[in-house]
C-alpha cells in the first residue's frame, strides 16, 4: 500500500527516528512503512493519521486489487 508518510514527515522536518519515537515504533518500522514494504495495522495507521492531523485515507493510498473489484451491471 502506498502512503504519504515520507512527504508528511519531511514537511514537518522530522527524522525517521523522531517520528518513530512519537508513534511508539522503531526507526526501521517507519522506513518499512515509507517504502511500502510493511502494511500497518489499523491502530498504527490511525495513530499516524492522527499525528499528521489527517484521515487514514489521506495518508494511506488504498489500491483495490483487481480480484476485489466488483462490477455492477446496468
Amino acid at each position: 500500500m502506498k502512503n504519504r508518510i515520507e512527504e508528511l514527515r519531511n514537511r514537518k522536518g522530522l527524522r525517521q527516528e523522531e517520528l518513530g519515537r512519537e508513534l511508539g515504533v522503531s526507526r526501521q518500522t517507519i522506513s518499512s512503512l515509507e517504502n511500502g514494504r510493511y502494511n500497518p495495522s489499523i491502530l498504527l495507521a490511525h495513530r499516524v493519521a492522527v499525528f499528521f492531523g489527517m484521515t487514514i485515507e489521506e495518508v494511506f493510498i488504498f489500491e483495490e486489487e483487481p480480484s476485489c473489484i466488483t462490477t455492477t451491471k446496468n
Binding site: 518513530g20 519515537r21 515504533v25 522503531s26 518500522t29 500497518p40
Partner: protein
C-alpha cells in the same frame, strides 16, 4: 515496562541453577559432561539477562530503545512470521529426513521423524481450532 522484577528473579534463578549444575558436575555428583555444558549455558544466559535488566533500570535511553522494540508492531509481526517459517522449514526438513532414512534403511530414525511430523501437524490443527474460537 519490558524488564520487571519477575524477569530479574527468573534470571537469578537461571544463574543459580546453572552454577549448581556446573558444581554438581565438577563434584561428579552428576556423571555427565552434558550437565556441565547445560549449566554453563544457563549461567551465561542468566548473567546476561541480569546485566540487561540492571542496565534497563539505570539507563533511560536503553530503556526507551528496549520498550520501543518490544512494543513495535512490525517486530511482533516479524517474530510471528519467523515462528511460522521455522515450523514450515522443520516439517520440510523432517519430511526429507523421513525419505532419506527410509532409503538408508534407518527405520528407527524414520519412525521418530514421522511421529515428529505428525505431532507438529496435530499441534498445528489444535492451535488452529483454539484460535478459530478465540478470533
Amino acid at each position: 515496562m519490558y524488564y520487571n522484577n519477575k524477569k530479574l528473579i527468573l534470571s537469578i534463578f537461571w544463574l543459580v541453577l546453572g552454577i549448581a549444575l556446573m558444581a554438581l558436575s565438577i563434584a561428579e555428583v552428576l556423571d555427565s559432561a552434558m550437565y556441565s555444558g547445560m549449566g554453563g549455558a544457563l549461567a551465561a544466559v542468566g548473567f546476561l539477562q541480569i546485566i540487561r535488566n540492571l542496565k534497563y533500570r539505570s539507563d533511560s535511553s536503553y530503556r526507551e530503545k528496549i520498550d520501543t522494540e518490544a512494543g513495535d508492531e512490525r517486530n511482533r509481526f516479524l517474530r510471528m512470521k519467523s515462528w511460522a517459517w521455522a515450523g514450515y522449514i522443520v516439517i520440510l526438513v523432517e519430511g526429507i529426513g523421513v525419505v532419506a532414512a527410509m532409503i538408508a534403511g534407518q527405520h528407527t530414525i524414520q519412525k521418530v521423524l514421522s511421529y515428529s511430523v505428525c505431532l507438529i501437524l496435530i499441534v498445528y490443527w489444535c492451535s488452529y481450532l483454539v484460535l478459530k474460537r478465540k478470533y
